[in-house]
């Protein structure tokens, strides 16, 4: 319930409906009381006028003329008429026979089974009292009808209030939701996503335009930044290639053993740099989505087995235990070479960053219809707060700064996974690191 009221949508709906309904109720009540009071005033006016007239006759011609006048009125209009009573000093009532009371002025007479009377009591001479009353039945009927109508109208109005509130807030929230969706897309790296504008020029459009300008700038900066590194990598290949040729030329000449070894070492270092550049360019190629990859069905269990067989002797030489653990058939559409590189990079990551005695286990299968591949080790692991960072190019943990590797292995793996619409997630194997690659469910 609490959560429901936290929703801006619900709150806005209630607010709009509340204001609407309160206004309608206020108008209803105002009308109701005004009508009732007006009708009552009219009746009082009628009673006052009648009293004035009868009193005039009484003053001119005495009590008998008054009696005569009243009898005449009763006969003339037996249906809808005022009520009259005359009380003698002995307390006997004549005509409509209701107690006039002993107080002069206005009072109300309650009657069971009939409408109240509005009574004007006037004292006469010699202990007589004159009472003239009007039946309030008409007021009662009218206000009852009014109440009925209002009740009948109010329910739809409340409903209408809620609906209009919901519509207004939904319209509002839909635009907020759209902004949020775009912001999420950008947050997930889809830097080209932009806010939609309706062209109405309202505040939302203004906000969207401002945000879009900001996104243009961010995209431009990220683009520049990416391109700086790929451009360097690209442009350096030719001069480094020439350097490599020169070094090879020198190494082919007659040299003493020491010099030749040092030149060969230099070539190895150069090749590592070139390898890093090649990985960087491959990541850029994959991330840009430019290369049209031709996907063919790849049996993960088969590929894992091939790669484990390839790496097993090297792992054994490092006194590490590399093996397949649990492989169930899982076939995905993919680029075999890239997937092989992905798996190799994960194995090499586990091998280079962990010492002797580490167990590295590979498995694959299907979870909820999604092909899944897991590389798990029981080595030193990576702290959870670094899981996201280690997938970024050149990010290396302090402790691994001295070990071999370009710092691109996991980034390249992540880029390959992304190109296959797969997620690559790190987790704790307590102890050690688990890398899970989850492919999209087959849609056949």
């Amino acid at each position: 319930m609490n959560r429901l009221f936290k929703s801006t949508g619900v709150r806005l709906t209630l607010l709009a409906a509340g204001v609407f309904i309160a206004g309608m109720l206020a108008i209803n009540l105002l009308v109701y009381f005004n009508v009732r009071d007006d009708m009552e005033d009219q009746l009082r006016d009628q009673v006052s006028a009648e009293t004035r007239q009868l009193l005039g006759d009484y003053r001119d011609d005495g009590i008998d003329e008054l009696r005569h006048d009243i009898s005449e009125r009763l006969e003339r209009n037996p249906g809808a008429r005022l009520q009259y009573t005359l009380q003698n000093p002995a307390g006997v009532t004549l005509f409509d026979r209701f107690a006039t009371g002993s107080e002069p002025g206005w009072s109300r007479v309650r009657r069971d089974g009939a409408g109240d009377l509005i009574l004007l009591t006037t004292p006469l001479e010699d202990g007589y009292w004159l009472g003239i009353a009007a039946d309030t039945r008409s007021i009662r009927e009218t206000t009852a009808a009014l109440r009925h109508t209002m009740l009948f109208v109010t329910l739809p109005i409340i409903l209408l209030g809620i609906i209009s509130g919901a519509l207004v807030s939904r319209r509002f929230l839909r635009r907020v939701e759209r902004l949020k969706r775009t912001a999420d897309q950008v947050g997930q790296g889809e830097l080209s996503a932009r806010m939609q504008t309706t062209g109405s020029g309202d505040e939302f459009d203004g906000l969207a335009i401002t945000i879009n300008r900001m996104l243009d700038r961010i995209e431009g900066l990220v683009h520049d930044m990416r391109h700086v590194s790929t451009n360097i990598a690209h442009d350096m290949r030719t001069p480094l290639g020439r350097l490599r040729q020169r070094l090879e030329d020198i190494a082919r000449q007659q040299l003493d053993h020491g010099t030749r070894t040092r030149i060969e070492e230099a070539i190895v270092l150069l090749d590592e740099t070139l390898g890093t550049f090649a990985s960087l360019l491959r990541i850029a190629e994959l991330d840009s989505g430019q290369a049209a990859l031709q996907y063919k069905p790849v049996a993960l269990e088969k590929l894992l087995s091939e790669i484990v067989t390839a790496y097993e002797p090297a792992a054994t030489e490092c006194h590490q235990h590399l093996k397949l653990k649990d492989t169930k058939p899982a076939t995905i559409p993919g680029d075999r070479q890239l997937l092989a590189q992905l798996i190799s990079n994960l194995i090499e990551n586990a091998m280079t960053h962990n010492g002797a005695g580490t167990h590295i286990e590979l498995s694959c299968g299907s979870e909820n219809g999604q092909p899944v591949m897991v590389v798990r080790d029981d080595g030193t692991g990576i702290p959870p707060n670094e899981w996201e960072n280690v997938l970024k190019p050149f990010h290396r943990l302090d402790k691994s700064r001295t070990s071999r590797g370009s710092g691109l292995g996991l980034s390249l793996a992540a880029s390959i996974a992304a190109r296959h619409e797969a997620s690559l997630a790190l987790s704790d194997s307590r102890p050690g690191l688990t890398v899970t690659v989850r492919f999209p469910a087959e849609t056949s």
Partner: protein
Amino acid sequence: MRLLLVEDDRDTADYIIRGFREAGDVVDHAADGRDGLMLATDSTYDALIIDRMLPQTDGLKLLTMLRAGGNEIPAIFLTAVDGIEDRVEGLEVAEDYLVKPFAFAELKARVGVLVRSTRSAGTTTDTSLQTGDLQMDRLKRSVTRAGKQIDLQPTEFRLLEYLMRNKGKVVTRTMLLENVWDFNFDPRTNIVETHISRLRSKIDRGADAELIKTIRGAGYMIDDHE
């Protein structure tokens, strides 16, 4: 060997020509695609080395035209662009593909294998291969040395088969990765070395002569000559 090099970059061309000439091969050089096409149609070569990006007629077009004209000379592309797509496209017309910068030994070994495999085209379908007293029966998938049976893992068998098919030729680490493991990327781990070492221990242990030789700075070679 008689080779045709079509390469517009002077520096790279010199480096390649010098390398092959030192080894006693003959290299003709064309600096653009048009000259390259002319030379390739006029003369007979053992192999073509063609840069992918050339002025006039680019490498891919040049080779496609040659192939369309019935020219089946084995060719290797050199390229500065290591794109996934480019590679696939290149290998549709050329027999091999090498990304710049490369070690000369790598190019030399690849060209050597190209020429050899076409000269003796029957080799790949031969059911038995022999190097000295080492015998491989590809149908029975059995290997014997001096008549003694040797048990090999499937990978070791494929590795030995590739070496024996290219007997007397240098094969590089990357050639083995491509042909035995079907990896066209370069692992940082010494996969090839460790497998060679296991294979060696099975083939050469206790034998008179070491057949699998390491060629310094280049790769490996199986050979029965001392």
